[in-house]
Amino acid sequence: MKTKPNSAPAPALPSANPPRRVSQRELFWIFLKAGLAFGGGLGILAVLEEEFVTRRQAISREEFLTYYGIGRIVPSGTMTALAVAYGYRLGGFWGTVIALTAMVIPAFVITVLLTMFYAVFKTTNLLDWLNVSVLPAALAMILAAALKLGRDIFRPSPELVLGAAAFAAVYFFDLNPALVLLAGGVLGILLLRGSPAEAES
């Protein structure tokens, strides 16, 4: 869509720095890798953070977290919503199809295979082995990604207080995540100074 990459930022690519382009093939492989991650949605999130934010810098951390927040509010699986968001952001409509398809292939194939052999697997203790290998390792990956995503919040600041309050609201008080996010946004309007990227430019 974008013919002159050096002209003023086009609406489809609205980040502060001109992002590195991600080809459709790369998009497919990245989402396939994400779909292979254990640990549910957070495992997928950890792979996407590593590939898009840390390694390729195709999406800023701020934008990555914004889409995550919107994805939690939309009544859809969060990772489904994120595949649509990042797929669209990096590859337009076909990007969404590629991202969704690639992400779901591993889970789909394994699920159907395990169902076909229902009678056989019902009696095995496969889960016991996963419990001591893949799942705790995936947890480490998830924690590492969470620490990276929260990097610019971990210093004495209003942000830290707001983030901690959101954590407590969901973890201890079991409040609805979508409501907590909306409340976070409203408190942001009242208390915060906008994103660091926008403060610089």
């Binding site: 609406p11 779909g35 991650a37 549910g40 949605g41 957070l42 495992g43 997928i44 977290l65 914004t66 995550y68 927040g69 919107i70 939309v74 009544p75 859809s76 699986g77 489904t80 919503a81 649509v84 968001a85 969404t96 992400m103 591993p106 889970a107 699920t111 395990l114 169902t115 229902y118 019902k122 496969l126 016991d128 419990n131 001591v132 705790p136 995936a138 480490a140 990956m141 998830i142 590492a144 969470a146 620490l147 995503l149 929260g150 707001l162 983030g163 959101a166 954590f167 609201a169 969901v170 973890y171 979508a178 907590v180 409340a183 976070g184 409203v186 942001g188 309007i189 906008g194 994103s195």
Partner: protein
């Protein structure tokens, strides 16, 4: 129960639980096991166990429910239909891209992202408490974390080595 009926049920259950895999279980049980009896409770529990065994999204186990009732066509359609609500992102993104230069939207999204970090940590902690259930799980978790963060080994290699360590420990240690 027709295939169309099943797909409609899965679509609406997925929508009202915001795509939360475990959240759909009681609804599926009510509709497929208790009311119409087309699925046994064992099959539903097996489908749910699959959700923990498989990588990827936690709600793809509906493919298993689809497969039990209508074979591969049921599996494909069930998977397809839980992906569709993701497209509700597009109008939100369009609005965000148009409005992000406005100062108050910048502050709103800043608050949103900060709260997102809080939510990610809350989810990480609850997954952590479910995952770290014994000494071996702690060792594997710590080993993967140290290799990844402190030794800066490649993520894939760190995870693989930590997995092997866990399998080795479980095989060698008497349980």
């Amino acid at each position: 129960m027709s295939l169309l009926h099943l797909i409609f049920l899965i679509f609406s259950f997925n929508l009202i639980t915001f795509g939360n895999g475990p959240g759909m279980i009681p609804l599926l049980q009510e509709a497929l096991v208790d009311q119409s009896g087309v699925l046994s409770i064992d099959q539903l529990l097996y489908a749910f166990a699959i959700a923990r065994l498989t990588p990827g999204q936690a709600n793809v186990y509906v493919a298993s429910v689809g497969y039990f009732l209508f074979g591969i066509a049921g599996a494909v359609l069930a998977t397809l239909v839980i992906q569709l609500p993701g497209y509700m992102m597009l109008p939100f993104m369009k609005f965000y891209e148009r409005a992000r230069s406005m100062a108050w939207i910048g502050r709103f999204t800043r608050g949103l992202t900060v709260a997102s970090v809080g939510l990610i940590f809350a989810a990480t902690l609850s997954i952590g408490l479910r995952t770290l259930t014994g000494p071996i799980t702690w060792v594997v978790f710590a080993a993967a974390l140290v290799m990844m963060i402190f030794l800066k080994r490649s993520q894939m290699l760190s995870l693989l080595l930590a997995c092997l360590l866990g399998i080795l420990l479980k095989a060698l240690l008497p349980s």
